[in-house]
């Protein structure tokens, strides 16, 4: 199936010579959830803004649903809902009217039932007649999402949807995302939170300095990080690994005071129980045991720094 969003060698440079995007290419499949990870200033927002029509690209092309975003902007924009990072709402507008307004902008006839349903789903029903300026930050964020969904987009862009959001709203947001996914909506989200990408994304893209460093299935990525290390602190330092333990992939460190055992959490047998028994049989007293996992965060930091 043709990708629903196809980005080809997209570049964005500014008059002062700064480059926000240095030739980004990416295909996004219909119905998937892709998370774009990257530090501030990486180019995530510029990428989204270009696809949505808020900024011009310097070169390269983007097609949405098979249509070019410049020549067929009406068709492409009609498919897209955008929740920008900054919360910007018309202060005096009522919550309900805000959603109706957005739906109108996207050339859809007024639909009371749909807007009511959205308001309920976003826990905004009680606030439907309140003016936007009277709402709390979290509520405003919900209104922004409601506006983006008011015209039933096929593709939803969420730019840092959970930045500065309380736990409850974050959980709600994830629920909304998974519900939208059931309806077949493609979701592109940018985030700082790696756990967020882990929790809801199908694929993860890492972007930094205007370049896409990596795009991979989350599961593949997780597999790479599946390796876990167990550190075993010994009561008495040893000079070499006892022969009885030679069959394990062990490394002696910390001046002989600690053993490191690397294993795969995904395999059926991690070998931990057997190792501990064998350690005991070899007469080694244990002082402490701890395990650590290389997280998406480690990979991310490695990529961004490298």
């Amino acid at each position: 199936m043709a990708p629903i969003v196809s980005i080809r060698d997209l570049r964005k440079s500014y008059a002062d010579g700064g480059e926000a995007l240095k030739g980004v290419s990416l295909d996004i499949e219909e119905g998937e959830i892709i998370a774009l990870l990257g530090p501030n200033g990486a180019g995530k927002t510029t990428l989204i803004s270009t696809i949505c029509g808020i900024t011009y690209a310097s070169s390269g092309s983007v097609s949405v649903g098979g249509y070019d975003i410049t020549n067929d902007y009406r068709k492409t924009r009609a498919m897209i809902g955008l929740v920008p990072q900054e919360i910007t709402l018309e202060s005096f507008q009522k919550v309900k009217d805000s959603l109706h307004f957005s739906r109108g902008l996207f050339n859809k006839p007024r639909d009371e039932a749909l807007v009511d349903q959205l308001l309920k789903k976003l826990s905004l029903w009680d606030k439907r007649d309140a003016r936007n300026m009277t709402l709390s930050g979290g509520m405003r964020r919900r209104v922004m999402i409601g506006k983006a969904l008011s015209h039933q987009p096929r593709i939803l862009f969420l730019d840092e949807p959970t930045a500065g959001v309380d736990v409850e709203l974050r959980k709600d947001m994830w629920d909304i995302v998974s519900e939208l996914r059931k309806d077949g909506v493609t979701i592109i989200l940018t985030t700082h939170y790696i756990e967020e990408a882990e929790a809801i994304a199908d694929r993860v893209g890492v972007i930094n300095g205007g370049e896409m460093l990596l795009v991979e299935d989350k599961d593949t990525l997780m597999q790479r990080m599946g390796a876990k290390t167990m550190r075993i602190d010994l009561q008495q330092p040893i000079t070499e690994i006892p022969a009885a333990l030679a069959s394990y992939d062990l490394r002696l460190d910390d001046g002989g005071a600690a053993l490191f055992y690397t294993y795969d959490t995904r395999s059926e047998r991690t070998g931990i129980t057997r190792l501990l028994t064998d350690l005991n049989n070899a007469g080694l007293g244990l002082r402490d045991v701890q395990t650590s996992q290389s997280s998406l965060e480690d990979i991310f930091v490695d990529l961004v720094k490298g």
Binding site: Y14, I54, T88, L89, E90, L105, F106, N107, K147
Partner: protein
């Protein structure tokens, strides 16, 4: 055509008008009444008739124009400047709307409001002085043309302005003097010959002159010239708006 978008923006702008009804409608009416008290009654009683029209009646078209010009301009400029200032413009830029539709909605709403104010002032003036309109259809045409062209002009200012100071700069420093010197309160023929010539460079003269003609049948400049001046101004504004959206000037980078 994205009619739903035009309607959404238009209705939003009109709602803004009615939400701020005192500021939007009551205040121009009050200031007009003050003009009548000062110029029409206090000073006007000492002024002879101008071109066979009592002075109080004579200033009515000029006063309407004064308000309509300012209102259409400030409404359109605020209408488009505010989303830029607040950041809500992102939605307009990412929506499937064309520049043409955006302009129709904003300019249409600003012109509607200015037209309403113009008619309210006319009705108010009628309470103070007797008014007879010789060419009502032309009167309305002049009014609508002025509303639309100055709303377009205001739209340009709103896009150009980077802050509130700039937003007020052109209306205050350029348009207000032009309107006051454009014959709102006097006939050009009352000026010394040199000033009569200089005044002809003031575009507002043509607006007020044509508009006054539709009331009393007398004008400082030929009606055809007045009409072409407004039409020309409108075309220039349209050209600039077209260029703004083509280049994304101060809207998109």
């Amino acid at each position: 055509m994205n009619f739903y978008a035009i309607r959404a923006i238009y209705m939003f702008e009109m709602a803004r008008t009615f939400r701020t009804i005192v500021q939007s409608i009551v205040s121009p009416v009050i200031s007009t009444c003050l003009y009548f008290v000062v110029f029409g009654t206090a000073i006007g009683s000492r002024i002879q008739q101008v071109e066979d029209v009592p002075y109080g009646t004579f200033i009515v078209p000029g006063l309407i124009m004064l308000s309509v010009l300012m209102q259409s301009m400030t409404n359109a400029s605020f209408g488009i400047y505010f989303p830029k200032f607040m950041g809500t413009i992102y939605e307009l830029l990412s929506a499937p709307v064309s520049a043409f539709e955006v302009v129709i909605a904003y300019v249409g709403a600003a012109a509607t409001k200015a037209l309403m104010i113009g008619l309210i002032i006319l009705a108010t003036a009628h309470l103070f002085v007797p008014i007879k309109i010789l060419h009502p259809v032309w009167m309305l045409s002049f009014l609508v043309l002025t509303c639309v062209s100055f709303a377009l002009f205001g739209f340009i200012i709103g896009i150009w302005a980077k802050n509130f100071e700039q937003l007020n700069l052109i209306p205050m420093l350029i348009i207000t003097p032009l309107v006051f010197l454009g014959g709102s309160f006097y006939s050009i023929s009352m000026l010394p010959p040199l000033w009569q010539k200089i005044t002809l460079f003031n575009p507002v003269v043509y607006l007020i002159s044509g508009f006054r003609w539709s009331f009393f049948g007398t004008a400082d400049v030929a009606v055809a010239i007045s009409l072409s001046a407004i039409a020309g101004f409108m075309l220039v504004c349209m050209g600039i708006v077209w260029w703004i959206f083509k280049t994304g000037y101060r809207l998109k980078s």
